[in-house]
């Protein structure tokens, strides 16, 4: 243990003498999370909506108003009355609303009153988002149209689609992206921090000197790991403050649970970096390998951008080996939903298991290297 402590102390001194690493570790996550927190905006606004009102009653006008009042649409009169979908083809609009004749009359009598919304599916991200907005718009429409319809026989209301967005009622993407970004950025940073430490010592020859002393691989691994746990945890703490203060994010859960599970996640990332470093022994390759094994998988497969549930079955299983997938669930769960340890026991157990497996693998790999 004393030897591990010596290694740790030495590592701390390296970091403290190297303002670049320190600045990188503590400053970069904040910068990236703030920058991308503002940049990655899944909200779609200013959608040009062509309206073909073929009813021309107060009710149909109100329906159109609901769209313009939502803030997502810029309403304009249709350009091609003979074939409304041409507005989309000519890119004169991204969405077209067609309200059929006798809309008001049908609605009032309780018959099926139809309004059609055409969306430009070429950009399926915004189409998907608009679909998401529709439920909100329908709710609004119901309220706006109710007085007009009250006199009629329609008792149930004419909007049947009922989707509710829980936990993030405003569908504020920043609230959704920032906890995810924090996971991705701090995780990536952690892997890179340790990926270099052992490789650097192999490269400059100091590892050989270290191994000529009675120090054990496990002691080197633990000594290398612990200072970076503290460093990456501080980085995460700063990112947490950014989320709360700059993005004004609510925090629904327990801080102890959040930072405890962060610890599990960060240890997994650091151990992954260490394993890479022990295995390849060269800084440049270790760096490339750590980026390849962390950046794209954690961006694309962790559920940060694309929900894991909607991936093909193989990838749903594949993502299970990625620490960020589990911690992302914890992070969003604790931040927005206030989930407790019991509800998150699954992901937490997986992260703990990953810690054990990765640290053991790094130590084993270290030992095996010495014997050849």
């Amino acid at each position: 243990m004393r030897r591990a402590l010596s290694v740790a102390r030495k590592e701390v001194r390296h970091v403290l003498r190297d303002p670049f690493t320190l600045a990188l570790a503590l400053g970069l996550p904040v910068l990236l999370v703030t920058f991308f927190g503002f940049a990655i905006d899944f909200d779609v606004g200013n959608i040009r909506l062509s309206v073909y009102d073929r009813d021309r009653t107060p009710a149909s006008r109100r329906l159109a108003e609901v769209f313009s009042a939502s803030g997502y649409f810029n309403v304009q009169p249709g350009v091609h009355p003979e074939a409304p979908s041409k507005d989309l083809d000519a890119e004169e609009a991204s969405a077209v609303l067609i309200i059929e004749p006798r809309f008001y009359e049908k609605a009032k009598s309780g018959a099926e009153a139809k309004a059609q919304l055409l969306l430009d599916g070429a950009d399926n991200t915004s189409a998907g988002t608009v679909l998401g907005y529709l439920s909100g718009i329908q709710n609004a429409a119901q309220k706006r149209l109710a007085p007009a319809l009250l006199s009629g026989g329609n008792k149930t209301g004419f909007i049947s689609l009922k989707t509710r967005f829980l936990f993030n009622p405003e569908l504020n993407t920043q609230w959704f992206t920032v906890p995810g970004l924090a996971v991705i950025v701090v995780g990536l940073l952690s892997i890179m921090l340790t990926a270099l430490t052992v490789a650097r010592e192999w490269e400059n020859g100091s590892m050989e000197l270290l191994l000529s002393t009675p120090v054990e691989p496990a002691e080197i691994v633990l000594g290398k790991l612990s200072p970076y746990v503290a460093l990456s945890l501080s980085a995460l703490l700063i990112v947490y403050l950014v989320a709360r203060l700059i993005f004004r994010m609510p925090f629904a859960g327990s801080h102890l649970l959040f930072f405890g599970s962060s610890l599990l996640f960060l240890v997994a990332c650091l151990a992954q970096g260490l394993l890479i470093s022990v295995a390849v022994r060269q800084q440049q390759i270790a760096m490339q390998l750590s980026i390849v094994t962390s950046l794209l998988p954690s961006m694309l497969l962790s559920g940060f951008i694309f929900p894991v549930e909607s991936m093909p079955a193989f990838f749903q299983y594949f993502t299970m080996i990625l620490p960020p997938r589990w911690f992302l669930a914890v992070s969003r769960g604790v931040f927005l939903k206030g989930m407790g340890a019991v509800e998150l026991a699954g992901p937490l157990a997986v992260l703990l298991l990953m810690d054990i497996v990765l640290i053991t693998a790094a130590t084993k790999r270290f030992k095996r290297d010495l014997e050849t």
Partner: protein, 306 residues
Amino acid sequence: MNPSVDVSHLSIRFGSFTAVDDISFSVYPGEIFGFLGANGAGKTTTIRMLLGLLKPSSGEATVAGLAFEDGAAGAGRAIKNKVGYMSQRFTLYNDLTVSENLAFAAGLRKMSKDALERRTRELFEFIGFTHPASTLVKDLPGGLKQELALAAALLHEPEIVFLDEPTAGVAPAARARFWALIRKLAGSGKTVFVTTHYMDEAEHCGRIALMRAGRIIALDTPENLKAKAFPEPLVELEEADEALLGRLKAEPAVLDMRPHGMRWHLALKDEQSWRELEKRLPPGAARRIAPSLEDVFVRLVEGADR
């Protein structure tokens, strides 16, 4: 007296390449044992096996009376406690101070704070270190860095020190200082196992093993090596023109002649032929010399190649 290092028929192969090929030797306490050879001759590889950093393919080695094979980790640790190592590639962490470097080395050896303080005092005195211990290593001159690295290797009072090219890239004056330390060390009873490719340094060794392509091609004291390699007189010729060289080459008494910097070294058949040659050459043009280790090395290597 039991040998500090005892090696018999040690070999290591990396794939089809034999880096160290069936070497045997013993080193005794208080001895300065030199490993001389070009880069890639297998010097460092041998040291790495003796430190337990590489597993030999075959053969046996005991260090401080212990073999790495006995009791696996336990013996390995016992050996590591009895040896000090100064590596060729790395000495001290540049971004740490002198005292931080020593504290790190002491921590790995589980030395107490008192022991570290005492040894630091002793070793600073031993190497004549007068800078503040809070100096960053990168601010020290190269020679001093090597001396400190030696101090770090000696911190835990090892019986045997392995020095792998300790003076590579160090100024001549600093090299001389370093060798004075090595002699002092051996004088105090430590076994010093040192590799070098500086021929003049090898002269300081008690015994030298000449390594070439993984084999030991000669092992003896510097004096014996010279006597064995050059039983005949050796003559150094000052600058000579083509005509003289051609004439000398044709002399049956000249066994061997080769350039040596600006001069030429001639091996003659016997004392008689030297006396005759001296008379025929202009005065002062040639003089009888004792062979240097470099002459020995060149001759032995060529002998081995033949």
